[in-house]
């Protein structure tokens, strides 16, 4: 179906696209779930719409209300779109070390941005947002890290879509941020196929992002359940940039940087399948396209300077 009643109702139902050249063998195949095809260009449209609809259904979100959310960008952009069409105000708490495009997009859709310090990355944004939420009880705090509607959007949407398109799936690889995608789609896929491998790729940032004052300020999202995952990898900027450029060069897909980290883990799974003489159908998430990261220069500068440019940025 290609006709929708409104922009919101076109969220999800994204294509799953084969990668004939990057796949390591005819029986070890990679499949890209193109989440950049959502209305604001990222997978976060799913969670944003689900969280707002849940808050409305619960009676927490009333016409004209103000929504509050800590975000490194994409969730805020998605919430801003839904908030605009439904008449809510949106305040985003965003780390100051995020790309200029995210700021521009948020403002374009009418969100107000409160910046949190670069050191500590999204941890600081979460801390500042929690403080604001307690001081402003009339604001509606979506809190993607602990909101079950986030996970549910992937349990009911992303997971079933992938399984319908790829019933032979052996591996599902996605990024680990709020953990919503992996928890929701991972749980669904495991229920359908108990031996499916659920693989997390977590971005490894530069040092400033880990600049907490003490270990007790660390953060694990409330949604996270380690038992859903089979394995979890940490992928640095250099490998992520290399892979996102491979994806562009070899398959013509223009993806955002976090997708490079996910592809890196997906290719590692493909190499293991080859080593073990097994067939594999590896589905991975393309979280967003590269538009929002053009200003970082990663698509044009040489590879090493491109990854250095990301050193203190929250690039995923």
């Amino acid at each position: 179906m290609a006709r929708f009643d409104s922009l919101e109702s076109s969220v999800g139902h994204t294509p799953l696209i084969g990668l004939p050249k990057l796949s390591p063998a005819p029986n070890v195949r990679l499949w890209a779930k193109m989440e950049d095809r959502n209305p604001t260009g990222s997978i976060k449209d799913r969670a944003a719409l689900a969280m707002i609809e849940k808050a409305e259904a619960d009676g927490d979100l009333k016409p004209g209300a103000t929504i509050l959310e800590p975000t490194s960008g994409n969730t805020g952009i998605s919430l801003a779109m839904v908030a605009k069409t439904r008449g809510y105000k949106l305040i985003c708490v965003m780390p100051e070390n995020t790309s200029i495009e995210r700021r521009q997009l948020l403002e374009m859709w009418g969100a107000k941005i409160i910046f949190s310090p670069a050191a500590g990355g999204s941890n600081e944004a979460v801390r500042v947002a929690k403080e604001l939420a307690s001081k402003n009880p009339d604001w509606v705090f979506m809190y993607q890290y602990g909101n079950p509607a986030n996970t549910l959007a992937h349990y009911q949407g992303t997971g079933p879509e992938i399984f319908a398109d790829l019933p032979t799936i052996t591996h599902f690889v996605a990024g680990l941020g709020t953990t919503g995608t992996l928890m929701g789609a991972g749980k669904y896929l495991r229920e359908q196929k108990p031996d499916v491998q659920i693989i997390a790729a977590e971005p490894r940032y530069g040092e400033v992002v880990y600049g907490l004052r003490n270990i007790d300020e660390g953060f694990v999202p409330e949604l996270y359940d380690a038992s859903v995952l089979t394995r979890r990898f940490s992928v640095g900027a250099e490998d992520s940039v290399k892979r996102v450029r491979d994806l562009l060069e070899i398959e013509g897909i223009f993806a955002g940087i976090s997708t490079g980290a996910i592809l890196h883990a997906a290719l590692a799974m493909g190499a293991e399948a080859i080593r073990d003489g097994k067939s594999a159908d590896i589905a991975f998430i393309v979280c967003d396209a590269g538009w929002k990261y053009l200003s970082t220069g990663v698509y044009s500068a040489d590879h090493v300077s491109a990854s250095e440019a990301l050193d203190n940025q929250l690039w995923a």
């Binding site: 990355g121 709020t178 490894r204 660390g218 953060f219 995952l229 640095g236």
Partner: protein, 105 residues
Amino acid sequence: MAKDARFSNNKHMTTAAIEVRIPTILRPYTKDAKVVSADGADLKSVISDLDRQYPGLAERLLEDGALRRFINIYVNDEDVRFLGGLDAALKSGDSITVLPAVAGG
């Protein structure tokens, strides 16, 4: 193979075999060194060896005999909690990265 290599290089057993990357927040324990070396056949022994060289470090990594909730340890870029945790087998040439847990999204 790694095991054999170790035996044949017995004289150099004191030469540490595993590289450990230390996050900023724990560098006060390592005299500001970003990368240190340690020996051990599993993660538990490596942490003991680190604590011998840098007293107090183990207490920052462990709590009640398990990895602290807000500490992530990666062996060759894979989360050690999925490789057996403190019992994860290690070999010469492995690389360990210690990081505090941070939010994404």
